[in-house]
Symmetry: C2
Subunit: 355 residues, 2 copies
């Protein structure tokens, strides 16, 4: 217990903060409510004398008027709010995505509401709550990785304005994905270029759309180089640090060992790297590690991780543009961010094979 802390000291009472309404502004300015609304709203065809307008603006200013969100939403039947719902907010990768979403939303006059997808709660519940209750006009949704894409598609109402990211549901929702195939390929090609031939893949769950595609990219690169992507050189355990550790133990049990590993997610790569140190495996001398996805954490491992940076900002931005478009015209689209392409960032976890 620290000596300087004391808890629970009551200090006062709040009078219920009475919100300023249009009618109070109107009373103060000596005009009707609708006059105030029109002036403040900046309606076209204003038809108000300059003096009255000024009186209204001053009154609103002095009273610190703020339009009530609920009343406006009720009247307009829309909220100008978009929901961004992801399974894990505390993912360093998410920052970039969120910035893309927020920038695009702001540019179109929307604000962003963040939601987390509970693993225990059914995803449909979240969607129903946000969209069904009219809390948001549309949704940018990343499904949890464990969920079966087909099952997800099932519970998506095709009439709802939903844009999936990192996943697809043809005919049921729009989608935007990054170039996962390219990402898997780029990471693999880097190892091949260094001279590796026994290259393993520490992949994500088989149900994950991104995992499937990164795996495909890996295999394409292998075959293009005349190498055989062997099944026992692949794990599909998941994207967490702990699952990365498991993947390493599994792959290091092979004989001969692979000399390079492509990891499908940076968090898994961080765990995998830590496990390699714990097992006394020297990275990159004995083992090269390249990962798909880059983040600030990747440059603070030891050795710093060679990574393929994916275009999450662009994905978020495109998703919102797509959503806004959908809200306007109703068009459903599927897009893949191919430009700019995934970008290889070479650090120190990869090197030519020593043998």
């Amino acid at each position: 217990m620290s000596a300087d802390d004391e808890a629970g000291a009551d200090r006062g009472r709040t009078s219920a903060t009475a919100a300023v309404t249009l009618s109070e502004v109107a009373a103060k300015a000596g005009v009707s409510v609708s006059a105030v609304s029109k002036v403040l709203r900046g309606t076209t065809a204003i038809r108000v004398s300059p003096e009255t307008r000024q009186r209204i603006l001053t009154a609103a200013e002095e009273l610190r008027y703020r339009p009530n969100f609920a009343a406006r939403a009720l009247q307009a039947a829309r909220t100008q709010v978009l929901g961004l719902v992801v399974p894990d907010l505390t993912n360093a990768l998410f920052t970039e995505l969120m910035h893309g979403v927020e920038d695009a939303a702001a540019a179109h006059g929307y604000t962003v509401l963040l939601g987390r997808l509970d693993t225990d709660r059914p995803q449909t519940e979240v969607i129903a709550r946000l969209l069904g209750e009219g809390r948001v006009d549309g949704l940018v949704l990343q499904a949890t990785d464990g969920v079966d894409p087909a099952a997800l598609a099932q519970l998506l109402d095709p009439r709802a304005a939903v844009v999936l990211i990192n996943s697809v549901a043809p005919g049921r929702a729009s989608s935007v994905t990054v170039d996962d195939v390219g990402g898997g390929r780029t990471a693999t090609e880097h190892l091949i270029g260094l001279g590796h031939t026994r290259i393993a893949l520490a992949g994500g769950l088989p149900t994950s759309y991104t995992a499937q595609r990164r795996r495909r990219g890996h295999q394409e690169a292998m075959r293009a180089a005349g190498l055989d992507p062997r099944a026992d050189h692949e794990t599909a355990l998941g994207y967490t640090a702990e699952q990365g550790r498991q993947a390493l133990r599994q792959l290091m049990a092979l004989d001969p060992r692979p000399t390079g590993i492509v990891v499908a997610n940076v968090n898994a790569a961080i765990g995998l790297l830590a496990e390699a140190r714990a097992l006394g495996i020297d990275v990159p001398r004995e083992l090269s590690v390249a990962t798909v996805l880059d983040s600030w954490t990747a440059e603070n491992t030891w050795p710093p991780l060679t990574a393929v940076k994916m275009q999450f900002y662009a994905m978020g931005h495109t998703a919102v543009v797509s959503l806004v478009h959908r809200l306007g015209s109703g068009a459903m689209t599927d897009e893949v961010i191919l430009d700019p392409a995934p970008e290889l960032v070479v650090r120190e976890s990869t090197a030519p094979p020593s043998s």
Copy 2:
């Protein structure tokens, strides 16, 4: 460019999803709107025959009725939504906090709206938008670290229902903080217990309330052990990985070098550790590192970081309880989470000094 991807295929049009309203349910059940409202709401003093009730429930079910959020909020003059606003959502530490907030909110019938604090946007703008427009009933707010506490207090309306976390503003808002003093002390005592005497502090910005208190705990522990907390053994650069790297370079320029460093934030510790490896400094043989704050990233560094786990879940939980209490009674309180106490998690980045 990958061969399997094609972009921008239009697929269809959405008819505007007409939301089901109470009156539609009423029409279907052959009763009045208010009867439906009362039954669905489960009002006490229901006064409705079992058959009618059943008819209403069935109709609502079949029509998939969802109450309109805006209408309900307008009528009740509150939203049952609490805002949780933090500077950085993608902080591993934030998970725990958020869970505490969400659990407590759910227990009191509130949902949580997440907000990010833009560094460029004025914080007052965010508060005004959420609270002033009636989007939320109350706010759990963590100010950005760079902001001056006095300045923050200035712009807080004492009538607003705001609970600060990791910061205080006496008389202007409630607050909940973790035991930063105890955290700084515990980390320092650990190094002292191992036999270190030249112990440095890699601290946060001087304006940060948490940094001030962790520093105080550090100094208390030093003095209690008869050691002198020398000014040149302290940095106050900030909580990011890069600032941790800077801190290490600065502290390693000392002669003699410190044999142990207490870092005030785990992200800074991760950067500091990476920089140590880059400089060829062997942790923990040449240098022990202990950090305040624990997260999954701390166990995946090399060596794994000895850390003091702070009670973020409890802080989030307590903040919401405090907020709900404030919304009810108007009482303003300041609380410090002292129980459970900060918990030392010993890993491999600390050892007795070698000299």
